[in-house]
């Protein structure tokens, strides 16, 4: 395999992994605060459709991305209202958010399927992008990919060194104790959920404005769900989210790799790879039940009501 091909594979891997990275970082923060939001897929699709339509109509990619983020946040607030405000079952609410987001995005986007748009171009950093093998992968990407790197380091720092990060962890471990010592449980959880929404919205915008760039119904193709599995894979550790996102990025482009290498395997069969890889990862990581229980935020998914 020559170095150019390898360099291109690494480039595509990071690019494909970016939406996964964004969604998984958002969901990680959300889960650390004790909230399981299974609505990632719905928020991702809403971000994608709103971002695409806004960019197409306004002619501005910035507006597209901003509205994509806004769409994600709005969806997450809907989740927050029902799952946090009304203490509803988080699993059911998250599923509802995905079903609703799938339907609504298809409805909004029905007029825009297949329309062309000038997507976000890569922005190669001078010199750095010339580094053999990893130059293209890390320094010839578009701005959202760079932003995802920055967000990764920001979340890493947040949990490692900030007081707010400590509060999020405390609220996720034991909301009743947190409430008893006067930490703002609900506010913390709302913010965490909204951050998750913003990240999913951004990731959606990335898919429709930069990655493809076009809108198609259900275009996220389960990425929101894969990102949820990624958080499990990362054992709720920030640094492992990045690794996981890239690995899944690689699994998603394997069919291109195989085609590039001249194998002829049905593309429909190869398309099952990321999903099969997700199951494999879940199996490997969940196998040890005690360990899995210790890694997850202790109160994950349990509703909290201050009076109870």
């Amino acid at each position: 395999m020559d170095i150019d091909l390898l360099s291109n594979i690494l480039y595509a891997m990071v690019r494909t992994g970016t939406p996964l990275l964004l969604v998984a970082l958002g969901e990680l923060v959300c889960e650390k605060s004790g909230v399981l939001n299974l609505g990632q897929e719905g928020m991702l699709l809403m971000g994608a459709v709103v971002g695409f339509v806004a960019a197409l109509l306004s002619g501005s990619l910035i507006i597209g991305f901003l509205l994509a983020i806004l769409a994600g946040v709005s969806m997450s607030l809907l989740f927050g209202l029902i799952a946090l405000g009304f203490s509803a079952n988080q699993v059911a609410t998250g599923l509802a958010l995905t079903i609703f987001g799938t339907g609504l995005s298809a409805f909004i986007g029905s007029e825009f399927v297949g329309k062309p748009i000038d997507g976000l171009d890569p922005f190669a950093l001078p010199l750095l992008s010339e580094i053999p093998l990893i130059g293209k992968m890390l320094f010839a990407q578009d701005l959202v990919v760079y932003l995802s790197f920055a967000l990764f380091f920001a979340v890493y720092w947040f949990f490692r060194s900030s007081r707010a990060g400590l509060v999020v962890k405390a609220v996720g471990e034991n909301p009743h104790a947190a409430n008893a010592i006067g930490l703002p449980v609900m506010r913390t959880r709302y913010f965490a959920v909204m951050f998750g929404g913003a990240m999913a919205g951004l990731a959606g915008g990335y898919l429709s404005i930069a990655y493809t760039p076009l809108w198609a119904e259900n275009m996220s193709a389960g990425r929101g769900w894969i990102a949820l599995a990624l958080v499990v894979f990362a054992s709720w550790k920030v640094e492992r989210v990045l690794l996981g996102a890239w690995l899944f990025g690689l699994a998603s482009i394997l069919h291109l790799v195989f085609q590039g290498l001249g194998f002829s395997i049905s593309s429909n069969l190869l398309a099952t790879l990321p999903y099969a890889a997700t199951i494999l990862v879940l199996v490997l990581l969940s196998r040890n039940q005690v360990r899995a229980r210790l890694l997850a935020p202790i109160s994950l998914g349990k509703p909290f009501h201050a009076n109870s």
Partner: protein
């Protein structure tokens, strides 16, 4: 009555009323706490003590009434505000985060006042030394014992200037010796001018420690007194009223042939926060109650899980019934062999909260002919539930009532009744009267004694050492997954069992240790 004060009381409550759907938790409560006073708030479970202290700490808003702090009316907004005023609180269920260090835990509670962590750690070390509560600020909370965790809670209150310290049932998780140490600290604090509100239902402790006491009964103040001038009997009467029988002494008996034999039960806990059981050996004889004391988290859960069959053990021979080893049998098979089990958690293990009492009767009663060819005999099941309710005087509207809506005492009577009605040969009960009112506790004790006198073997695991001395015929203690010697109750003392609970098993070693030594 109260003489005129030159300085107003530190805290005054006037007419505090708090109503929850379905119950009046606090009904026009008046209370004065002076500076440097250790004041007891005494009452049964459900008397309204917890609600009242949450009102003081700003966690619950009263519906009526007012608080005066140093003579001035005040509205405590939230715990942060309470801390600013100088009010600290030690919760019964600790408000600590297991995955964080001691310093991080304390920093979280202090909010912006915490400053930088190294300086705070230093301050924690100072305070803990000053009050004789050794504590390493850098350890993660999950690695601390229950007693150490309570120290974290207390130190958390003391790193800031404090005027009133509230402790909610602080002794229920301590060994008798640790209780003594705690009292020394509390007296030292009071001498320095700090007021202490000591919430308890243990009469002897209140009499030993407190200057004054306010007694609550069903949400109302039922008496005020100076505890040293009262007898335990008169205090208890103020707590429970005139109609409820207060527990009596039960005759101790000698058991017959052993029913349950445990030999060299060793179990490594899969949970890194759990406790390993180390070569536990004991018998429970037919017609006796064996009591096992110990502070929670010393291997009780692991032992009970192994006995009930919910957790697998490696050495199947370690647990024997008369007909042979049962270590490999499932919970269901052990039930069929005559074992019944009353777990610590009433709701969520002993009973399904969102199911009716009828369904909860079926939950473990299914082996007694309530299921025919895979189908539930609904009529028989209802009869069974009705019999339990009638025989054990469970207060409930009927068999269709959900378990969650029963009071703790009534539900526990139902669960114990359900197990006893199946005529077990061995009953294992964990903390059978935890959190229930005195009336229900007495009824439960009577039911256990009755079952014993019918010839069943009974094992009671409890944190309440007084309870064990009351009902057990023989007694032992668990500490760090090891079992103390077991002695007939009349031949030991609370002090000796207290030493066992702290891990000091004296010269006498357990049979297993003698064997391995």
């Amino acid at each position: 009555m109260a003489e005129p004060h030159i300085t107003p009381p530190r805290l005054t409550l006037r007419g505090i009323t708090k109503i929850y759907p379905g119950c009046v938790a606090n009904d026009a409560i008046d209370l004065n706490i002076e500076a440097a006073e250790i004041h007891a708030l005494l009452g049964e479970n459900g008397a309204g003590k917890s609600t009242l202290m949450k009102v003081i700490y700003g966690l619950v808003k009263p519906d009526h009434g007012e608080l005066l702090w140093d003579g001035l009316p005040i509205d405590v907004r939230d715990p942060a505000h309470a801390r600013k005023l100088g009010i600290g609180m030690v919760f019964q269920h600790f408000s600590l985060f297991e995955t964080l260090t001691v310093t991080e835990n304390i920093a979280l509670a202090l909010g912006e006042d915490a400053g930088d962590l190294p300086a705070l750690a230093e301050r924690i070390r100072e305070v803990s030394e000053k009050y004789g509560m050794a504590l390493n600020p850098d350890r993660e909370v999950h690695s601390l014992s229950v007693g150490e965790r309570q120290r974290v809670e207390i130190v958390r209150c003391l790193v800031q200037p404090i005027k009133l310290l509230i402790l909610d049932e602080p002794t229920s998780v301590l060994t008798p010796q640790e209780v003594g140490t705690l009292f020394v600290t509390l007296r030292q604090l009071a001498e320095e001018g700090c007021s202490i509100l000591f919430i308890s239902h243990k009469l002897n402790e209140v009499r030993a420690l407190c200057h004054r006491a306010t007694i609550l009964r069903s949400g109302r103040v039922s008496g005020e007194c100076i505890p040293t001038e009262e007898s335990s009997e008169s205090l208890a009467r103020m707590m429970v009223g005139d109609d409820t029988p207060i527990s009596t002494d039960y005759p101790k008996v000698q058991g017959r042939e052993p029913f349950l034999q445990v030999r060299g039960l060793t179990r490594l806990s899969e949970d890194p926060f759990g406790v390993d059981l180390q070569s536990i050996s004991f018998d429970v004889q037919a017609g006796e109650i064996l009591g096992i004391a110990g502070v929670a988290g010393n291997g009780q859960e692991e032992l009970l899980g192994a006995l009930s069959g919910e957790d697998e053990i490696e050495n199947h021979d370690a647990i024997h019934f008369p007909h042979g080893a049962v270590g490999q049998l499932s919970p269901r098979q052990r039930r069929a062999a005559g074992m019944a089990f009353v777990p610590e958690e009433r709701l969520g293990r002993g009973a399904v909260p969102d199911m009716s009492l009828k369904d909860n009767a079926l939950l473990t009663g299914f082996l007694t002919g309530l299921v025919k060819r895979g189908l539930i005999a609904h009529g028989k099941t209802r009869d069974f539930a009705e019999q339990i309710i009638e025989r054990y005087r469970v207060k409930t509207p009927g068999t269709e009532t959900h378990a969650a809506s029963l009071s703790g005492g009534n539900l526990q009577k139902f669960i114990i009744g359900r197990e006893i009605m199946q005529q077990p040969k061995l009953l294992i009960a964990a903390h059978p009267t935890w959190g229930v009112d005195i009336g229900a506790a007495t009824a439960i004790h009577k039911a256990l004694i009755e079952l014993r006198d019918q010839g069943a073997a009974i094992l009671v695991v409890s944190e309440d050492i007084d309870e064990l001395f009351q009902i057990s015929d023989r007694i032992g203690a668990l500490c760090h997954g090891r079992l103390s010697p077991i002695k007939a109750t009349p031949q030991t003392s609370i002090t000796e069992v207290g030493r066992w609970m702290a891990g000091d098993f004296g010269e006498s070693m357990t049979p297993a240790e003698t064997a391995s030594a």
